[in-house]
Symmetry: D2
Subunit: 346 residues, 4 copies
Amino acid sequence: MNQEKKNLLKQKIQHIDITSFNSIPLIESFSHMSFQSRNLANACKIYDTMLQDKDCTIILSLAGSLFSAGLKKIVHELITNNMVDIIVSTGAIIVDMDFFEALGFKHYVGSPFVNDDELRKLHIDRIYDTFIDEDELQLCDQTIKKIADSLEVRPYSSREFIWEMGKYLDTNGCKVDDSVVYAAYKQNLPIFVPAFSDCSAGFGLLDHQRQRPEKHVTIDSVKDFKELIETVFRSKDTGIFIVGGGVPKNFVQDAVLGGKVNDKGELRNPAQMHKYAIQITLANEYDGALSGSTLKEASSWGKVDQSFEQMVFSEATIVMPLLASYAYYKGNWKKRKAKKLSQIFK
Amino acid sequence: MNQEKKNLLKQKIQHIDITSFNSIPLIESFSHMSFQSRNLANACKIYDTMLQDKDCTIILSLAGSLFSAGLKKIVHELITNNMVDIIVSTGAIIVDMDFFEALGFKHYVGSPFVNDDELRKLHIDRIYDTFIDEDELQLCDQTIKKIADSLEVRPYSSREFIWEMGKYLDTNGCKVDDSVVYAAYKQNLPIFVPAFSDCSAGFGLLDHQRQRPEKHVTIDSVKDFKELIETVFRSKDTGIFIVGGGVPKNFVQDAVLGGKVNDKGELRNPAQMHKYAIQITLANEYDGALSGSTLKEASSWGKVDQSFEQMVFSEATIVMPLLASYAYYKGNWKKRKAKKLSQIFK
Amino acid sequence: MNQEKKNLLKQKIQHIDITSFNSIPLIESFSHMSFQSRNLANACKIYDTMLQDKDCTIILSLAGSLFSAGLKKIVHELITNNMVDIIVSTGAIIVDMDFFEALGFKHYVGSPFVNDDELRKLHIDRIYDTFIDEDELQLCDQTIKKIADSLEVRPYSSREFIWEMGKYLDTNGCKVDDSVVYAAYKQNLPIFVPAFSDCSAGFGLLDHQRQRPEKHVTIDSVKDFKELIETVFRSKDTGIFIVGGGVPKNFVQDAVLGGKVNDKGELRNPAQMHKYAIQITLANEYDGALSGSTLKEASSWGKVDQSFEQMVFSEATIVMPLLASYAYYKGNWKKRKAKKLSQIFK
Amino acid sequence: MNQEKKNLLKQKIQHIDITSFNSIPLIESFSHMSFQSRNLANACKIYDTMLQDKDCTIILSLAGSLFSAGLKKIVHELITNNMVDIIVSTGAIIVDMDFFEALGFKHYVGSPFVNDDELRKLHIDRIYDTFIDEDELQLCDQTIKKIADSLEVRPYSSREFIWEMGKYLDTNGCKVDDSVVYAAYKQNLPIFVPAFSDCSAGFGLLDHQRQRPEKHVTIDSVKDFKELIETVFRSKDTGIFIVGGGVPKNFVQDAVLGGKVNDKGELRNPAQMHKYAIQITLANEYDGALSGSTLKEASSWGKVDQSFEQMVFSEATIVMPLLASYAYYKGNWKKRKAKKLSQIFK
């Protein structure tokens, strides 16, 4: 690596540790204030209520460049402490960021005030104020290809493929102690990525299929939906914790609708909405797009109950640590057990 | 349908016709102003330049509730006038909105100031200020199932399945004259939906697979990526016209990266970025998420050339008609021919 | 001026002419769509209703860098066609932008992608993508000082001082044919700037007071409020057309509350809210700040009636021309007469 | 008060106490992350650097409904610990919120999901999710009138009038222990409100002037600017801490420009920009309005040095407590003394 590139890739992004500070006093103060501080406090309390509700399966929906920004360790903590049961995410978070770091690569503190043409020449990719070594990212692509090459040829759900990624880390060594993919593998926690080709995994699988035009692994997005609904269907109640919007938000909201019919084609009676729902977002409601659509709107669709729902309009890197720390120090997760929902599919 | 529901579903959404007004004088004025009016004028000119560039394949990326909002006929016009060559979209736009209307169902003028619990009881779904009859939406799901049931059992790309949807309309009758799915079918224009299960199609395909646990149609998201890249690879130059962000934006931006390697595994030399890029969005840059990431940032990744790129920070229902009308009345599309890129895959 | 500066200040901002295009067909189409296009259409219709209502005094509230962006001629057109009766604005719009251009100076097409340290060295001020010659701006300051030096020493409302600015242009020559200050002067239309020192006028008046520490002109902000309320009080009904938020928005909304008590301290009976209200803004509601606060919220304060109110969440340079052109071509202003409300104070 | 109103005005807003939690560990973690968390950490460090710089006068600029939201006690803490030297604010914050509470009135936890017509009938004003008793607010107006009635007839700067409000509290008793107006009075810290009539003070002064049409107190907004510049001029260096945008932001940014000429009309040499600048805002840059204009843009105007500047795009109720707590627990304010800048004018 030349010196100029080395200088730009020097200071590593470090993931925040929610056990290193206790946000309860802050959140308690927020609950007596106005605007988004009070909304955040209310979201904290709803999440804590989910954790106290023994019948509730908790689904975490992730979108945005969260793990390159230092939020990975939070989700790792949520998994290992049984504070989440299912994850639905964009591909970038799970593959380009989490699996990428599990292979030993890093994200770097950068700046938005740079010449992007210069970065490109140095093979440095930019995410707002964060830098990535493009050469390392291509090694990540190739590892995905290697995994695909090793698998039995058949259609896979993204959950199945991500489980294989966890197994790869188990076999070949995981270079970090906060990998979400690896923790989920060990804990039988299902991770779904409904648009699995739309990330580094896409490039690896593409090469896999190109080399094997006749016989190759496929990723069946219907299977994703079927499996997610199956996990929801087996849960008495569900709660959703949404960070960002996009496909993962829609997918987890829809999951209860699909649940209306069971495996035998019988109607589930009564059809149930998500009992709890919180969302952290900066998207606006007024353009009609799904990302900023309110949880009240979702209620018209039969997706979300209005009794326990809260939108928090804020950027995730600031409020997600506060929210997770609150729930961690409240300690109600201690009575929860790992639901190991991936075992359903074995 | 009871009277209360009838009253709420009375006034139909009507799709705007870009040939009914000529935005050129307005856009010319905007080009001498500041802020987003000038950005819009610049985006108009870049799109018109794409249309003049014989070597340029134009990819339209769609996200947000665009077609329920009255923007469907615009895209229909772009297709029939050879102003776009490839479409990448969310599932909701193509299935829940376009195909839904092709089956004879409608969207309705509603209001955001309503009781969502009441709507749910009436089986009315709300998108901000727009209403949908949930019972009709379930008929749409079932039509997807019927199509899947009729197909040869194998993995399909979303493009292939959407082509089958067009064929269904051809056989069974298309109830509207502005269906994007049907126009694309007739014109051999590929439509990709990278998260195909994340919409009404997901419910239909789910039921299809549940009834046929052993032998059923699958949707291979890798195949989507492979096919999109193939179309890009066969184009001398490419331009992207992005409305909203999300998975479609990322997918079309990534398409040039995958193009670096050709079908024989050979490096494409030189690797080429999208030559032109415009985006209409309200997403912010500063939360680091993909939807609001600048086209300059995409340049660091080798995705977008900086010579002809323009972000327009505005809500789509207002500016997309202005942009399309400008290009329509400029008339440079008249020298373009349909690229019929779906024929590659036959 | 050195060559580098000349190159940066070459292309002048040109003000859009709402008579050069007819937005009625576009707005009619928007009224059958969703989201902000429909909101814009509704705002257009409310504004047109104000123009048809003979009893309605129309107050235009302006904030944001509107006139440097090419929106000045619109307001000039509204004044000369009796489409507005009172203006409340930030100082920058009226002094730094309108009066500045009336003195013969210009705004220039610039770019946000520049080195601001370099601009400063060249005495070029930047407003996002627009450039101003700082040396010319200081000449504007000094003209304000000259006007103040010539006046009788007493407290002035901003309206009175702006009338003197119009008189100065009348005497010394107005260099443009679309000056809002000059048109308002000739038409006896009151312009209020509630924070009058917060702009170029502040610098001029500062120098005036510094040179005359004992006897000098003062700007009494209470007098502004008193006069605005007096004009509102004499109007049977009022409608507000708000572009941006800030102090002007609050000031015009408050004007009806002050009107509850008349000059003799008697209660006006019944207390009346603004009958019509529209606002163009990009500010969010959820941070609790006034700029993005809804017109429904204003109704709780007794400021705005909910029967005819509409927020349009959009950037002003794109939608204000559409809105004004619609009302212009509807032609209902033709039956309106100039209210000449400044004459009240003579 | 009837029962319905009593039920709505039950739960009081409580002001957050920054000494009750130590945000240093959180902010340290944020400094190794991305996006707004890192920006916040950087802003914290710049503010702490201001506090360490003995030559730096710190100006706090306030806009938005901050004090009704529970952020008042923070500013009180900043004053009593010599962490701020000058305040520039909207009128609502200082009069309707701070002085209002000093008279013994309260803000209440409310909801945005209410019927505003009902609230109006109950004389309840709404600020997004916060309620105010309109009857109490009118008592606040009348107290302002009473103060004005008692004063010598002459032009006042807002700073002078606000000092009289502090004196009123000193004489008549301040009902709370966290009044910013009262703390500033005792500490000779100047508070400027450049649009002083645009709030509850406007209503009180209006009645004062109406009853005394010939001889009455006036508020000279030029005097505000002159006094602010005088305080800046006497400071070796300045730092600005901006919450929200609007008139206060512009006013404090402009203060260094006015400082270029001293009281004798001599040029200050060298002209100096604000050495430090931080801003918390949710406003966008791309509409060209001042509120969201970057501090880099301000540098082109000669207002802000680029060496120590940071925008934090976030809602204030969440990040202002974190920022203030960080600086409080760093303790560098302990070596600072009260600058007592109001004494300049005695």
